[in-house]
Symmetry: C2
Subunit: 467 residues, 2 copies
C-alpha cells in the first residue's frame, strides 16, 4: 500500500532535494482531454535535472509514495491522471527540455521538449523527425515515448519506438540508467529501451532520449482519392506500395460521416470534393529526385481503375496543407459531436474491410448510432467511433456506452485477433478491458516485469495493470 | 544450481512427454562456426509441436534441468553451445517448420523453418521477407529472432526485431504465450515481443513468429563505387539518402584488405576493378516504377564529385549476383586467413571515419596486424577484424588476442559510446566484456528481468549474463 504525499512528506522532500521546484498543481495538471477523470496531486514537482529526478524518486521509493509522470497532458486514456487512492507526487519534466546533441543521424533531447520543438530542432539541421501528431504543440517527447505514440507517418517510418535510438531513464529507486546510445544497431542484451517505451511511466521515468533523424524526401506530394469502399482503399494501398517502393508516407482513410461532421460542426475547412464521397483516402508521397508527385499520383489513378472515382492532387504547398488540415480536424469535429464510445483498434490490414462491415452491422443491431471510422490503413489501425443518432444527445446513450465498447473490443479480439489499443495505450481507461481480453501468459509476464523493476509499485500506479 | 539431464531424467522425461523425439546429439549439434567451444548435451530433444515444447519445459523447470535452444547453429558468439556445468537438454525445433498462415502483409511460420524457407514462402506470395544473411540456408527463423539478426538490409528494413509482428513463446515453466498477432500497431502493455527478441533463448523459447512481408521494389539495381576514404563513404550515403528518399536498400563498406584476402585465398569471385581500391561501397537501390537504376546511380556519381573515383554499375541480374557474391564471400576469406580477434561493433554513423582511423592507429601501436574492416555504413556497424601479418600464423598471436579485443572494445565504448556487439549478440563469448563495459543500471535491470521470467535459471544458462 502506498502512502500519500502529505504535508510532512512534502516538507521533508523539499529539504532532501534542495532546489527542487515544488508547488501546488494548477487545474491544467489534473485534467485530461476527454474529461472523464479529474486527477489529484499531493504536490507538483518540476525538476530541472536528471539528478533531481533521481533524488526525487529515491525519496518517494523510500517512503512508498506514488509518482505520476505528466507530459503534455494530451493522452487519451487517462495515463496522466490518478483520481483515487493516496495523493501522489505529480512529476512534470517541462523544465527539462534542452537539446543535448545533434548530428545528421540523430539528436539527443530532454523529455520535457514538445514534439513540435523536436521537429524544429531537426529542421534546423536539415533533417526531419517523422513522428507527427495533431497534438504535437503540447505533447512532450517523454510522453510520446512513454506511450509509444503513433500518428500518420507510422506506415513509412514506424511509431515512436522505431524512431528512438536510446534513453536516459530514472528507475523506481532513483537509479539512473544511462542508455543514450545513438546507434542504429546494438545487440548487447535485453531490449530494455523498447520495454520502457510504451510502459506509460510505470517502469521508469524517461528523462532524455536520442532520436533518429531522417532526410526529408526530395519530392513530396499530397492527394485525396475518392474510393469505392474500404476494400478498394486497401487494394489501392497495395498498388501504391507495388509501384512506389515504400515511398508512401501516409495513407489515411476518411469516411463520409467524418466529412459530414466537419460540415455540421466545423472547424471550417475546405473539403476537396463538392459531394462528399462515402470513403476517401488522403495519400502523402515522399519520392526520389527526378520523380514528380503529380505523375506518380496519375499512374496510381490509372492503375486503380474502378477502385477510384475521383481525385484531387494538391497543386501547391498551401493546398497540401489544406488537405492535411481536413484530416487533422476530424478529431475536433468528433469532440464537438460527442462520441458515445471511441475505439482505437487494429486488425490485420487485409481484414479492414471485414471489420468495418461486421462492426457496423453489429452496432446497427444494437441501437441507433452514427459511426465515424477513419484512420491509418497501412497500420490496420482504425478509429472506429460511435456517435448519437442525428438529433439525439450523448447523455441519452449513457447506459449503452459500456456495452458498445465491450462488443467492439470483443469483435476485434475474438474475430480478428486484433488490438483494443493500437496507438493510444492502456492508461487507466482500458485496464479492465486489457485484463479481460489479453492472453493470460502476457498478463503474468507483465506483472512479473512490473514487480521486478518497481517492486513497491510507486510508478504511475494503476496504469496498464490494476494496483 | 541446476541438475544434469542424466539417464534417469531422460527416461522419466520420455514417459512424461509421450511421442517426444529424444536421442543422442550428433556432433553437429555440439559445434559452433568459430570452433572455440564444444558443447555438451545430456539429450537432444526434437519436439514436433508447441504442446511438446511446453511439456518439455515444464518438466525441466520442475527438475531444474537446463535447456539450450539450438537453431541452425550459425551463431558466432557461442549462444548455442554449453560446454561446462551440468549437461543440459539440447532443444532443436527443426521438426517445427510449418507455414501456419500467409497473406499480403505477413506470414506466420514455426521457429524451425530456415530463413531461406521464409524467403521462399514470401516469394510464392509475390512478397519479400527482407532479412538477408549469408547463412540463411542454415539459420532458422527462431534463432534469427532470438539473436535479433541483422545483415545487409537493416538500413532500409530494420533488423529481425523490426520485421516481427508477433511471437508464440514457451516460457520457462512451460506456459505458452499466444502472441502471434499480425498487427502493425499494438499498444496494449509492455513490449514483451521485443524483450524476447534478442534474449538469445534466455527468457523463453520462440516456437513460432508472425513476420512482416514487404512489396519487392519495382526497380532494383546494384553498383560498386570506389570511394576516396571512409569519410567519403559516409558522405556518399548522405547524398544517396537525400537524393533517393530512403530507397537505398544496402550500403556496404569494403576494404582493399578484404579484396586482397579474396584474391589470396578465395573463394574465387569476380572483382569489379582491375586494381583493388583501398575503399569501396556496394550499393543496392530499390526504386519506384518509372525510375531507372542506372540513371539513379549516374546522378549519385555526378553528385559525389571527388568522393568517388570509379564505379561499376551492374548491367544484368547475373552481374548483380556477382557483386553480391564478392561481398558475401568476405567472411569466408576471413575464416581461411584466420582472424586473431573479430569485432562486431557499432558507432554513430558520423563517427565511422574517426573510429577506423583511431582503431587502426591503436592496433598499429600494439603489434603487427592486418585489418579487414567492412560492414554496414548506414547502421554504423563495422566488422573490424584483426589478422596476422603476412607470413605469420594466428597461433603466434594467441597471447595478444585478449588485449586486442579489450583495446578495441574499450575504444568503442569509452571514446565513441558504441556497441561491442552490433548484430551478433552476446552469447557466451562476450559475457565478460558486457559485464565489464555495460552501464550498471542496465545490468541490474537485465538480472531482474531474467529472475522474474526464469527464476530457476534453466533457459540457456550462461548466455548474456553470468550464471
Amino acid at each position: 500500500m502506498l502512502n500519500p504525499a502529505d504535508d510532512l512528506f512534502i516538507r521533508t522532500l523539499g529539504e532532501a532535494v534542495p532546489g527542487l521546484w515544488l508547488g501546488a498543481a494548477e487545474p491544467r495538471y489534473l485534467e485530461e482531454p476527454r474529461g472523464r477523470w479529474r486527477g489529484q496531486a499531493g504536490v507538483l514537482a518540476r525538476p530541472e535535472s536528471t539528478a533531481q529526478v533521481s533524488a526525487l524518486l529515491a525519496f518517494c521509493h523510500a517512503r512508498r509514495v506514488g509518482v505520476v509522470p505528466f507530459g503534455g497532458g494530451t493522452g487519451l486514456v487517462g495515463g496522466q491522471v490518478l483520481s483515487e487512492g493516496p495523493a501522489p507526487v505529480l512529476l512534470s519534466l517541462e523544465r527539462m527540455a534542452a537539446l543535448r546533441a545533434i548530428d545528421a543521424q540523430s539528436l539527443v533531447i530532454e523529455a520535457g521538449a514538445t514534439l513540435q520543438a523536436v521537429h524544429e530542432q531537426a529542421e534546423v539541421a536539415g533533417r526531419r523527425f517523422p513522428l507527427t501528431l495533431a497534438s504535437q504543440g503540447s505533447a512532450q517527447i517523454g510522453g510520446c515515448l512513454a506511450t509509444n505514440a503513433g500518428g500518420v507517418n507510422v506506415l513509412r517510418y514506424g511509431n515512436a519506438r522505431a524512431l528512438c535510438l536510446g534513453l536516459e531513464v530514472v528507475l523506481a529507486d532513483g537509479t539512473i540508467w544511462h542508455g543514450l546510445k545513438r546507434l542504429a544497431k546494438d545487440n548487447t542484451g535485453y531490449d530494455l529501451r523498447d520495454l520502457m517505451i510504451g510502459a506509460e511511466g510505470s517502469l521508469g521515468v524517461i528523462t532524455a532520449a536520442s532520436l533518429k533523424l531522417v532526410e526529408p524526401p526530395a519530392v513530396e506530394g499530397t492527394a485525396v482519392f475518392a474510393v469505392a469502399s474500404p476494400q478498394a482503399a486497401v487494394e489501392l494501398l497495395g498498388i501504391a506500395q507495388a509501384q512506389l517502393a515504400g515511398c508512401v508516407s501516409a495513407f489515411e482513410l476518411i469516411s463520409g460521416q467524418g466529412l459530414a461532421f466537419l460540415r455540421a460542426v466545423g472547424p471550417e475547412v475546405s473539403l476537396p470534393f463538392a459531394a462528399d464521397p462515402d470513403w476517401s483516402v488522403l495519400i502523402e508521397l515522399g519520392l526520389p529526385e527526378g520523380m514528380e508527385a503529380e505523375a506518380a499520383f496519375g499512374a496510381l489513378y490509372e492503375a486503380a481503375g474502378a477502385r477510384v472515382s475521383d481525385a484531387v492532387i494538391a497543386q501547391s504547398q498551401a493546398q497540401r496543407a489544406r488537405l492535411w488540415q481536413m484530416r487533422e480536424s476530424i478529431p475536433l469535429a468528433n469532440r464537438r459531436i460527442g462520441a458515445i464510445s471511441s475505439h482505437d483498434i487494429a486488425v490485420p490490414v487485409a481484414e479492414i474491410p471485414a471489420f468495418i462491415r461486421e462492426a457496423g452491422a453489429m452496432l446497427a443491431g444494437m441501437g441507433d448510432y452514427r459511426i465515424n471510422c477513419f484512420g491509418h490503413v497501412g497500420d490496420g489501425n482504425l478509429h472506429f467511433n460511435a456517435f448519437p443518432a442525428e438529433g439525439r444527445t450523448r447523455a441519452e446513450y449513457d447506459d449503452e456506452r459500456h456495452a458498445v465498447m465491450e462488443a467492439v473490443h470483443r469483435l476485434v479480439v475474438e474475430r480478428f485477433d486484433g488490438s483494443i489499443s493500437a496507438e493510444h495505450g492502456i492508461g487507466r481507461l482500458k485496464v479492465g478491458e486489457l485484463a479481460r481480453t489479453a492472453d493470460p501468459a502476457k498478463l503474468t509476464m507483465m506483472r512479473a516485469v512490473k514487480a521486478a523493476l518497481d517492486p513497491r509499485g510507486i510508478l504511475n500506479p494503476g496504469v496498464i495493470l490494476p494496483t
